[in-house]
Amino acid sequence: MLVVVCVKQVPDTTQVQIDPVTNTLIREGVPFIVNPYDTHAIEEGLKFKDRFGFRVAAISMGPPNAEATLRKALSLGVDRAILLSDRVFGGADTLATSKVLSAAIERLAQEEEVGVVICGKQTIDGDTAQVGPGIATRLGYAQLTLVDRVEALDPSRRSIQVRRKLEGRHEEVEAPLPALLTVVRELNRPRYPTVAQRLEAVDAQVELWDNKVLNLDANQIGLKGSPTWVSRIFSPERAKGEMLGDGARDPEGAAQLLIDKMLEKDLLAL
């Protein structure tokens, strides 16, 4: 059985600033990283590999330099890495992106039965959280979003049980395979590559699939296939905060205030 993990190379958003004049992202000199949620997706895929002997494929749609992200996945132990890269894929919104990724997963499914597809719950650059559900819908897979624990997977019964992290509560769900999971950070702790794995990954093959391979209608993908477009990017005005409590004089009172505020905003689970 094959596990497919969808990964994205994103700019390190903590280092991205917005040009105040043009209102566009200043991307120059900003390093790219693996979307942090996707590192948990990779880890969960590798855990399936460790437990059930499944094979893991990482796929990513992006420019040629997104290969670095796939190499990172290879260094962590995925068996196969595929870069979906073509000029006609460029400028895609979440709909067009999910079409390309779905096509790639379908193609993989022709070679080997796909049991699980795992995505990060969202990317830190777009933050839409739409691509994972889009893929599930397009492929007709069970859609399990915001997974923070995989309770069980039974290959013979072809079913999976997961826990979803919702606001203020959890939900336990069982679904048939194939299923698509979008995952949150609490799910697992990503592993660290060994030096041997890193050295292997340097020369490992990253397969390149362009539209000649996927053969999609150019009007359905990329910029042309994207009904959404960005009209403006701006930094939200941040309301000036107020100072509450005097931590230096009354640390316990300040701590209590903080706890109350956090409870009020439902940021603490009691």
Partner: protein, 662 residues
Amino acid sequence: MMPHPPLFAVLLAASLVFFCFSVYRRFSLVLLGQPEERLDQPGQRLKDMLLYAFAQARVLRKPFGLNHFVIFWSFLVLALANGEFLVAGVFPGLNLGLLPEGVHHALLILFDLVSLATLVAIAFSFGRRLLIQPPYLDSRYVKGRSPEAFLILSFIALLMIAYFGMHGALIAQGAETATAAMPVSTLIASWLAPLGGGLDSVVLVSWWLHALVLLAFICFLPHSKHMHILTAIPNCYFGSLQWPNTQPRERFEKGGTFGVGSVEDFTWKDLFDSYSCTECGRCQAACPATNTGKPLNPRQIVHAIKTNLLENGPALKQGRPGTLPLIGDEGEGTNTEDSIWSCTTCGACMQACPVLIEQMPKIVKMRRHLVETKAHFPEELLNLFENMEQRSNPWGIAPGERAKWVSTLDVKPFAAGETEYLFYVGCAGSFDSRTKQVTVALATVLDAAGVSWGILGKDEKCCGDSLRRLGNEFLFDKMARENVELFRERGVKKVITLCPHCLTTLKNDYRQFGLELEVRHYSELISELVQTGRLKLTGGAAGLGTVTYHDPCYLGRHNGVYDAPRTLIEKATGKPVKEMERNRENSFCCGAGGGRMWMEELIGERINHARVDEALTQTPDTVCVACPYCLTMFEDGLKDRGAEKVQVRDIAEVIAESLRSV
């Protein structure tokens, strides 16, 4: 006098064969280790050997070392007497009596007095183990008061007693005429004289006692910790010429071994070190981890390597893997992961070792195995490693914020030819809010002293110190190469650092990457400027009250800077530093070195608490430090101890304060 030369010849031959076989068996195991260059610069090595092995320079640092000094030199002198004894035992005519009488008599006086000195020293050794009992004598698997230790001491005592018994009886019989050359034996003779006819038996028994104990000693030696008699002197010759002792580079090639996971991955010198350990316990007495109840004990690390080698060696020699794990669960011959992660790399163990054993790099090599081969390490390090790799600082703060501390100042970028020094600010100086105050203070001091300096700003990268000490050599290697490239590109020649960890990394570690820089901790440079009158300090910081100074390990022990900080504090406050009990090379780590800054300290007492308690015994108003890690550890420790009234100041702040008040 000659009891039985043929019998003795057989016994001697058998003992020597056994000795040689034992020595071969043990020493051939050392060759299982990896290659390491330790034969270069023979002149310097010979000097070190004379100083540390023959003059016992380090042994004598502790008062009781004098006792060992006496035993060591007695051993060398009496090796001649014992050599004669063995030869004459087989060939009775072949003895020192053949030498000119003057020389012979001189030797006899020497033997006589040295034997007495040895006997006295052995009595002291017994007394130290039985009565004084310093706390570092014993550890879990290594005991200074083991039966083995007492057996060896008894052997030596018996040899001396037999020597005097034999010579005393001979003199009493009138068979030995050189009485003037043997004052101690002559005194013994006067006690033995009443035995009359029984003297023959005394001679016979003494001779055989001497013979048998000597042969037993020869046979036992290679199987005991007293093997150090054979290894300690060469170990001083092969000692590291790099001081401070950092860790070696690794080669990263496919199919390679990374770090040390089993004993044969160590170099031959690492293995030889383990044979040279006398188990004196000085490293253990100095180790901050051992002293605060952590499972690490540098003596046990070295002992575990030896035990493991002896256990696994025979299999390894036949190409089979060893069965006793080098890293694993608690047990003799195995190091636990907790012990490996407890090291602060402070270097106190290496500083204490009388025979130049290098404990700390061995620990780091085992960390490398855990990080690089197993990817298995305390979980809090995952964040650190990712932050370092992605953002080149331990906190994972955006690199663009590196130069934010500059905001209130006019700071030039470094440009070769225009600015003399690169001020390498370092991660703590750039990102840590408390240390940023030190950075600003230092910047004003440098300006006040008229130093020409500039910074790399947001192009500056982390030096990688913590990564290297934590065993993530792969990442360190990458960062070091990038930094070396950057420094070359920018034409950097002279560097000032704020942090002693940056200092040692740029100065000592990057040398392995082909970069030779003039790197100085700011305290060295400023103190020089004060000495030459370019900067005047006139006690303006007297308001800091009584000041005690904590020597940062990487400034003091690792780089030998002890006086400059003290001079500066004295000039800035108008008062000499009030020293803590453990200071200078005996300073006790704050607990944050070796990457421990980024790890939880869950076992035993907190190291910074131990050090803060020591500082508080001096009732200081201010604790002065010269390292961002020490600054954090002291501020936290003082808070925990409810002693917030005591302030912690970096020397740069003290100087800045002194200048402000003028």
